[in-house]
Symmetry: C2
Subunit: 184 residues, 2 copies
DNA sequence: CCGACAGGTTAGCGATCATTAACCTCGGGC
DNA sequence: GCCCGAGGTTAATGATCGCTAACCTGTCGG
């Protein structure tokens, strides 16, 4: 189903980009890490930017679609907890993608950047809708600001890998729900 | 007292680095933004890396020293609230520095990177100590993890400038204290 | 058998980068 | 009156980058 070679390259590129930044990784270096050397990558991707684009668009799509699936048919508080769990789960499984997503999105070519921004906007809106349902006094713009701040908290995961995954999951869940004002 | 020209360059560099990343800004471009052209910068700094180093070491020093000053002689809960306020204040006044600090620290030369890491570690420890005093059940590593997560929340400020500063300040304060489990 | 194509290789091109070299030009202490 | 250093300038250098060109090789359907 999935072109395993492309996916393999994408995974390796994600870890390299996460470690040294998109501009800090050369095509030759990325090729070598994939077991080939330099220009062979162009048999799989049209350009270095195309690697980044496919990586980040894919990430945004998976986040949005996963979030939609988990929030369906729940009360607002349950939905927020489910969204938090889903986001933590993704962030722990794909730390490199999370790092690249919010450090290097500005290096995307224009069309991919617009696509990513649109997907992220819809993901924020998904959260904000549940947050406003749980706290009717919140105005839309403030709900969005709170969701962004919660993402900042959850996306800090990869930077500080201090705790084993299970402990980190519980800690982040409790903190995020506390920040969003969802009290059990 | 302060070499105004160097500081001016540092401020301009911060906004450019924040917008397009350290590697995304050329020396020529930075020079032009400072009203001179290209290599004139080397009359003020030894290298492009030295600009980044002075910028980030200065930021880390100011954060640590400000935090120490504000936390002195307070109860743990008061100290945490003061630290949160201080950090928000700094992040709102110097959005660009916050962005560069956690996006481009890996581009630092080795010695400056070590210096920044040491200062940040001490800043984290300052918070963690107060957090453990407020929640004695927390183990040190978990306290540090929570502090990192709180920084992630607070440092998300510059990315989403959705609210006017005063509203943002109040929102972040409430969320951060909620995340840290400091209930009024 | 064979031809074509997927997936590699190395060599090289043009652009851009940080940095240096060489030179200019003023303002102020002697 | 003069020199000298602070703070500019342009030109050039060597490295590195993304990418293309040209070529090779094994596999596999007919």
């Amino acid at each position: 189903m999935a072109g395993t070679r492309r996916d393999e390259i994408l995974a390796i590129a994600a870890t390299l980009f996460a470690r040294r930044g998109y501009h800090g990784v050369s095509v030759a270096e990325l090729g070598k890490a994939c077991g080939m050397s330099g220009p062979a990558l162009y048999k799989h991707f049209a350009s270095k930017e195309a690697v980044l684009a496919e990586m980040l668009v894919g990430t945004s799509e998976e986040l949005l679609q996963g979030g939609r699936a988990r929030a369906r048919g729940l009360t607002p508080e349950e939905a927020l907890a489910a969204l938090v769990d889903w986001h933590i789960d993704f962030a722990l499984r794909h730390r490199a993608l999370i790092v690249v997503q919010d450090r290097d999105w500005s290096s995307l070519p224009d069309d991919a950047r617009e696509q990513v921004r649109s997907l992220q906007r819809r993901y924020v809106e998904l959260w904000a809708k549940q947050l406003r349902a749980a706290h009717p006094a919140l105005r839309p713009v403030e709900a969005r600001a709170r969701v962004h701040a919660a993402f900042g908290l959850l996306n800090s995961t990869p930077h500080s890998a201090l705790l084993p995954d299970e402990a980190m999951r519980a800690t982040l869940r409790e903190m995020a729900l506390g920040a969003l004002g969802v009290r059990p």
